[in-house]
């Protein structure tokens, strides 16, 4: 990573879409460790700045979620929850879900939804 990139957090790691009170985060890039950490920071900043009440992380394009990515996603969700914001993950590929469960990894603090619509429905009910 170029030093300038991470520097002032001006550049977002992932472009996000505001949807009602929710923030949609479609992950379309490789989640290397640094990226997932910067994504965490970005999500927390956006919750704070935009007064987001729910985050929907769309991981349908992500083909590997390993233990550290899982850890950071869960941690982000835990921190978001403490900030009054629920995190829903949607579109998790079946083989990724299988791999995680076989490894004994649970996405703590994260709500799992099949689709984007489901995610929105779940968040609507949580309000």
């Amino acid at each position: 990573m170029d030093k300038k990139e991470g520097a002032t957090m001006k550049n977002k790691v992932v472009p996000t879409i505001k949807l009602y009170d929710y923030l949609l985060v479609p992950i379309q890039i490789e989640l290397d460790d640094n990226t997932v950490e910067r994504l965490q920071m970005q999500i927390l900043h956006e919750i704070h700045e935009k007064e987001v009440r729910g985050i929907i992380i769309d991981v349908s394009m992500v083909d590997v979620i390993d233990s550290y990515i899982s850890f950071v996603l869960s941690e982000t969700a835990g921190m978001a929850k403490a900030m009054g914001c629920y995190v829903v993950i949607c579109g998790i590929q079946p083989q990724v879900a299988l791999t995680l469960s076989q490894m004994g990894i649970k996405l703590k603090d994260i709500i799992t939804a099949q689709s984007l619509e489901d995610a929105i429905n779940i968040l609507d009910k949580l309000e």
Partner: protein, 141 residues
């Protein structure tokens, strides 16, 4: 062990090498015709191995090769991760799952790899380094 016997040799030194090795393993497993589920398991295992090298040993290597299964059997993928890092004091504990020396980690890497792969072999000596060898056989359709 002879590096020339392997199809892929990956040097792990920078954090970005973790993602690179993951993708290389995925491509290699795909070319070997593993099922999508197994490709994902293999790529995930390599991701864990690479991160452990980067995190605990600072640098090391990952070797990947195809092992022919003989006349009747399907081939297998072998992954060897080695480093000259600090080694693991209590290997039993490290592979039991839930044990970690990192502050922000689940401690489910080694235990997870073991569950994802068909065979799992680890050798580690404090002050010398760590070698992990895993295999996954392609299913016969």
């Amino acid at each position: 062990m002879n590096p020339q016997d392997y199809d892929i040799v990956l040097k792990i030194k920078d954090e970005s090498d973790i993602a690179v090795s993951r993708q290389m393993a995925k491509n290699f497993a795909q070319k070997m015709d593993f099922s999508l589920a197994d490709v994902t398991k293999i790529a995930t295992a390599v991701s864990e191995l690479a991160r452990n090298i980067y995190r605990y040993a600072k640098e090391g290597y990952i070797y990947i090769r195809k092992k022919e299964g003989g006349s009747e059997k399907a081939p297998a993928i072998e992954i060897l991760a080695c480093d000259r890092g600090p080694g693991i004091e209590n290997v039993e504990l490290a592979i039991s799952g839930g044990y970690t020396t990192s502050e922000r980690s689940l401690g489910l890497g080694l235990a997870g790899i073991r569950r994802l792969m068909d065979s799992f072999h680890i050798e580690s000596e404090v002050g010398k380094g760590t070698v992990v060898i895993v295999e996954k056989r392609r299913r016969v359709f």
